[in-house]
């Protein structure tokens, strides 16, 4: 009797388990079929063809005055959290002998302190920096969940909905262009103002620059002035030896700039 009871209980248990599992799976399937995956699914891409663009960036360090307008505009345009920088400006001072001095107080956002009175450095200049949107970028390669990716028009983006905040990409970027957003706890970086450039507007930093030190270029537009500069002038990229193929080009860079 005891034995029969036991068998019956086990059978009952298995049956109920199977029923529960079956119901769960069935309801999950129904939810998966009914639930719209995303509010933005389809649409909004009709007026922009990303196969017709290849974005690049050009910085003329000989023009930069270190005013910080770009960094301020970036913060306001993209709601960048305080203390974090998607773009910043470094002041490089290279004496004839001795150590190179680099400073970037608050990312250069509020300008720069006056030179110390005893600083007689004749080789000094500003270098604005941002994500280099490398075409062979290590940051997207290390992402374990596919939250970092490169668009067909050459912009490296982060999908905050997929990002798990592991921080591998922060370590992989040799330029320090990424940071952990303290509000979303996901990786954050320059989007090359993807919401602007895909509407035909310049990035916020390019628009803000009062001296034209920053320029946005489109390699697929033959009439783009940036293409003319890249074709005729001597440009450099940061840390070329890392073979990341940066798409942010510099004019007037010194070998001491990393």
């Amino acid at each position: 009797m005891n034995k029969t009871n036991q068998t019956s209980t086990r059978r009952e248990f298995l049956r109920q388990s199977a029923l529960t599992c079956g119901t769960t799976v069935a309801s999950m399937a129904v939810i998966a079929l009914i639930l719209p995956d995303d509010a933005y699914a389809a649409g909004t891409t009709s007026e922009y063809d990303w196969d017709k663009h290849r974005w690049v960036y050009l910085i003329d360090t000989r023009k930069c005055i270190g005013c910080g307008s770009c960094a301020r505009a970036c913060r306001k345009e993209n709601q960048v959290p305080e203390g974090m920088y998607r773009t910043w400006i470094e002041r490089i001072a290279i004496p004839p002998e001795g150590e190179v001095h680099v400073d970037s107080p608050y990312g250069g956002e509020h300008g720069f302190e006056p030179d110390p009175p005893n600083a007689h450095v004749r080789k000094s200049f500003f270098v604005p920096k941002l994500c280099n949107h490398c075409s062979n970028t290590p940051c997207t390669q290390v992402c374990p969940v596919g939250a970092s990716f490169e668009t067909n028009d050459g912009v490296v983006l982060v999908d905050p909905k997929q990002c798990i905040g592991c921080g591998y990409c922060l370590q992989a970027c040799p330029y320090g262009s990424r940071f952990m957003n303290p509000h979303t706890r996901t990786a954050d970086k320059c989007t090359l103002c993807y919401h602007r450039i895909t509407k035909g507007l310049p990035t916020a930093c390019v628009q803000a620059c009062p001296v034209g030190a920053r320029q946005l270029g489109d390699r697929k537009n033959p009439n783009d002035p940036v293409n003319e500069i890249l074709a005729t002038q001597r440009v450099q990229v940061l840390q070329q030896q890392l073979l990341t193929k940066p798409q942010c080009f510099y004019l007037g860079l010194d070998m001491e700039v990393r």
């Binding site: 599992c21 799976v25 999950m28 399937a29 939810i31 998966a32 995956d37 995303d38 933005y40 699914a41 389809a42 649409g43 909004t44 891409t45 000989r62 023009k63 005055i65 270190g66 005013c67 910080g68 307008s69 301020r72 505009a73 306001k76 345009e77 993209n78 002041r91 001072a93 300008g111 720069f112 006056p114 030179d115 600083a119 004749r122 000094s124 200049f125 500003f126 596919g146 939250a147 970092s148 990716f149 490169e150 668009t151 067909n152 983006l157 999908d159 909905k161 997929q162 989007t191 993807y194 919401h195 602007r196 509407k199 507007l201 916020a204 628009q207 803000a208 009062p210 001296v211 034209g212």
Partner: protein
């Protein structure tokens, strides 16, 4: 003693197959639920992330949007040395002032010593051909005292010379 039958384990094989099939179905259905629908649309990432980035609001409207109401200041700046300086560079983004053609808040009017010297204080790192002064020296030369709005007493920020 029962004779050995090849059909002896049929029941067990059926059970195992049923279990494996069940697990497979669960996996397929779970994948349908947990993997975003647009995954792999363009590559190994969620395709919808692209239109989501594109849909973010534009905050800086550019000089032309300021011109719609402030043509006088726009034209004045256009003829002066500050032609390259964007309205929103010194003021605030147009999004903080006008939304859909309706004024939502007054525009910030900056005219501070700090704002002017942020660009025009003499620094070794600045290009030589850029207009810059030693603020203390400049004030002494013109016999003026340092106040927050001292620059705009002589210079019109929209057309400084």
């Amino acid at each position: 003693m029962e004779p050995a039958s090849s059909l002896k384990h049929t029941k067990h094989i059926f059970r195992v197959s049923f279990l494996l099939g069940f697990v497979l179905i669960v996996m397929i259905l779970s994948r349908g639920l947990f993997v975003p629908k647009s995954w792999g649309q363009y590559g190994w990432y969620r395709g919808d992330a692209v239109p989501e980035h594109r849909a973010k609001p534009v905050v800086h409207g550019g000089d032309q949007s300021c011109r719609e109401c402030h043509e006088d200041q726009y034209d004045l700046r256009e003829e002066g040395a500050h032609v390259g300086v964007r309205c929103e560079g010194c003021h605030e983004p147009v999004g903080s002032h006008v939304i859909n053609g309706e004024m939502t808040a007054p525009m910030f009017i900056p005219a501070s010593f700090e704002l002017c010297t942020g660009c025009h204080r003499r620094l070794a790192a600045r290009p030589d051909d850029f207009s810059q002064v030693n603020p203390q020296q400049h004030l002494e030369d013109n016999e003026m005292d340092l106040t927050d709005t001292v620059c705009t007493e002589c210079h019109d920020p929209h057309s400084p010379f």
